[in-house]
Amino acid sequence: MSLEIVGITVLWTFLYGYLIVASIDFGAGFFDFYGKITKQEHVMNTLISRYLSPVWEVTNVFFVFFFVGLVGFFPAAAYYYGTALLIPGSIAILLLAIRGSFYAFGNYGSRRSLVYSFLYGATGLLSPAALSTTLTISEGGFIEVKDHKVHFLANKLFASPYSWSVVFLAIVSVLFISAAFLTYYADRANDLKARTLLRKFALFWSPPTILASLLVFWGLKVHNPVHYDRALDYWWMFALSLICFLTAVYFIYRQKRFGTAFIFVMLQFFFAFFGYGVSHLPYILYPFITVHENVTNPAMGTSLVVAFIFGLLLLIPSLVLLMRLFLFDADYVRGKK
């Protein structure tokens, strides 16, 4: 495998990791707020904070990892995206900043206030919307280069049906992924009330998720037919994604094997995300940046890959330890530790 393919695969995998863990986190923030305003606080909020408290920081690192890696492997991306995304990027940072800090203020501070959870919940839905615009922009048509200057066409982005379909998909899939995970977590905690409620959420958000996916396909066909045709070449990946989705919903509906159900949700997004990713290649930013022409020089690329391997050797055991202590430790999940 060539260096640029290794690079983009590594980055894409991290982005996928972020998609899953951040979705759980973003959705949990929304459910947390929803639980409070509908006075169902006792049912699921302790459960949510029990899961989130030890891991929220880790979630954030997946994201940092992705953009640092992108700049490292494909420096031209820093130039184009950096120039174009000044305002949308700043807004995304602001949302993430409000989320992260108000989570800490609310959870570690001495007072749990409704304002904190509102900010945390609202930014939980706005952040994926803001972040997903980057993927939209990567399809091309929203950036133009005139006199060696990069211009971001914000109006076009706002007027584009494709862009809105991506935002819609981002929001509903966040809620779906999160509900599916928390149902499983509630099940492990033997918390029947929370499980019932969260299961309802998971089922409620499942049809919009599929609807939104179809909308995105349609939007892509209109916006970037080249990419759409390439996506059809990988139709089997999207078919697998659909099968995984149906399996997951089946398990959740029949109220059994919530863990397996969540694995199928992960697989559903894995196939969809990688199918989307591989059909997007060779472009990182259509039509300006391709993985082949804009990859960093070999010396840096190699050292990044080496650093990456050593990093993983350190991270994987630590992550396993984290999960064993907080995710798969039945006593902790049940609140006995």
Binding site: F73, S101, Y103, A104, F105, R111, A307
Partner: protein
């Protein structure tokens, strides 16, 4: 001053960094203090120290949160505000940036575990062991990110041919001449700042009448750490000065208002400068600058006049340098005095001395800010010294002013919230009460 993209980008980067380094510094030093306190607590079976570690850790969570979000901000702003710089330098410094993220990842994982497993192990030492990866993670992220900054001061490990970076050697770029002295100085000053901030909190509590064993032990421990770390910091600072004299003479010359190249150069402290570059009202230590630069009064120190006018750093950095050093000396003196009084069983709880300790906390933070400003402003006009000027690196995109305003509001709100939440957190739960709850068998007096 013209508020074009270059100026606005500089202001926004400066604002984000000034805000971030407060929390970043806490992130480097506080885990060390927590770990030390817990270790002493376990070894001496002393619940006061265990409680100390626990309460520090609780406050730490808030500063970590703000540190994480502002760190993410500066990480993205690098590409958004300085895209041309990142396109060129990104290829050379990607390795340390990447490794910094790994270190941060490592720290994040173990910090989460550490904070939620206080009573989970029968043998307390297992919990203490978890603090080691936290310290390793936080100090190595400081190390890696400082190598990036060092690279900007003394770039090496690449060649620039027709605007393209070629012949890249990532390791050589990371271990550039500025790296050793800068890393030592950043880490040791981070440690000392945290020790002295925690000391200031304890001293303040004692002044407010809370004279329990808990506060007294806290103050003694933090003062010892302050003294030890501040001596290290001074040594690292001396190394930095020698490094500057050798490799970045224009920065040292500007910081010292040293215009003509000469041997036996005087050290100038404070004072003012007139239009003809004559110094007035200064404190002058003869031949000291030469001595600092090379351990001998005969060392030749290069003056600012030897550099082209458009490559000279602004002369205001002189005050930043002097204030930083003065604060460092003050911290060392206060902690040394306190320890002497304690050792000779004299008036250790002297009111004035305690107030001096209280003042040391904010002063140490100020010194960190001044030190970084000296470092950053002192390499003007370069963003990549000798290769790329700041003016050529800034974004040409629209909306920097808007972004500046948005972030200014964000940092303002975060500052207020941080103070509010932290003070509430500890006011509502005083140490005596918590001690009784967690260790009911201990007499609080």
């Amino acid at each position: 001053m013209e508020f074009d993209n270059v100026m606005l980008s500089r202001l926004l980067t400066g604002m984000t960094l000034s805000f971030h380094i407060i929390f970043a510094t806490l992130g480097v030093g506080v885990p060390v203090m927590i770990s030390l306190a817990e270790f002493i607590g376990i070894k001496r079976k002393d619940p006061h120290f265990l409680l100390l570690a626990r309460r520090w850790a609780r406050g730490f969570t808030i500063s970590v949160a703000v540190g994480v979000v502002t760190g993410t901000a500066i990480g993205l702003q690098l590409s958004m505000l300085w895209p041309s710089f990142m396109e060129v330098a990104g290829q050379v410094i990607a390795l340390p940036l990447f490794m910094e993220t790994f270190a941060f990842f490592f720290e994040a994982i173990f910090l989460g575990i550490y904070l939620y497993t206080w009573d989970r192990f029968k043998n307390r030492i297992y919990h203490w062991l978890l603090s080691i990866p936290v310290m390793v993670g936080s100090s190595s992220s400081a190390l890696f990110i400082t190598t990036v900054n060092s690279f900007m001061n003394t770039p090496q490990g690449f060649e620039l041919k027709n605007g393209k970076t070629v012949n890249i050697n990532p390791i050589e770029a990371m271990f550039n001449p500025a790296t050793p002295s800068k890393v030592l100085h950043v880490i040791s000053s981070g440690y000392v700042t945290c020790a002295v901030i925690l000391a200031a909190i304890s001293a303040f509590a004692i002044l407010r009448g809370r004279r329990g064993e808990y506060e007294k032990k806290a103050l003694r421990m933090t003062m010892v750490c302050t003294l030890v770390f501040s001596i290290f910091t001074a040594l690292a600072g001396d190394l930095s000065a020698k490094f500057l004299a050798h490799r970045q003479p224009e920065k040292l010359a500007a910081a010292e208002w040293h215009f003509n190249t000469e041997t036996g150069a005087d050290l100038i402290m404070f004072g003012s400068l007139d239009r003809h570059h004559d110094v007035h009202y200064e404190i002058r230590i003869p031949k000291m600058l030469s001595f600092l630069s090379g351990n001998s009064v005969d060392t030749k120190v290069i003056g600012l006049n030897d550099f082209p006018k458009d490559e000279r750093p602004p002369l205001i950095i002189h005050y930043m340098f002097d204030l930083m050093v003065a604060i460092g000396v003050f911290l060392t003196a206060v902690s040394a005095l306190y320890i002497l009084l304690w050792a000779f069983k004299k008036k250790e709880w002297n009111k004035w001395l305690l107030w001096a300790i209280v003042a040391s906390g904010p002063l140490a933070v100020l010194a960190i800010e001044l030190g970084w400003m000296l470092d950053e402003v002192g390499r003007q006009p370069w963003i990549l010294r000798g290769y790329m000027k700041v003016a050529d690196a800034a974004t040409k995109g629209n909306g920097v002013g808007l972004a500046f305003t948005l972030f200014a509001i964000l940092y303002f709100i975060l500052t207020i919230m941080c103070c509010f939440v932290l003070s509430k957190m500890f006011k509502n739960n005083p140490a005596e009460v918590e001690l009784e709850r967690r260790f009911p068998y201990v007499d609080p007096k």
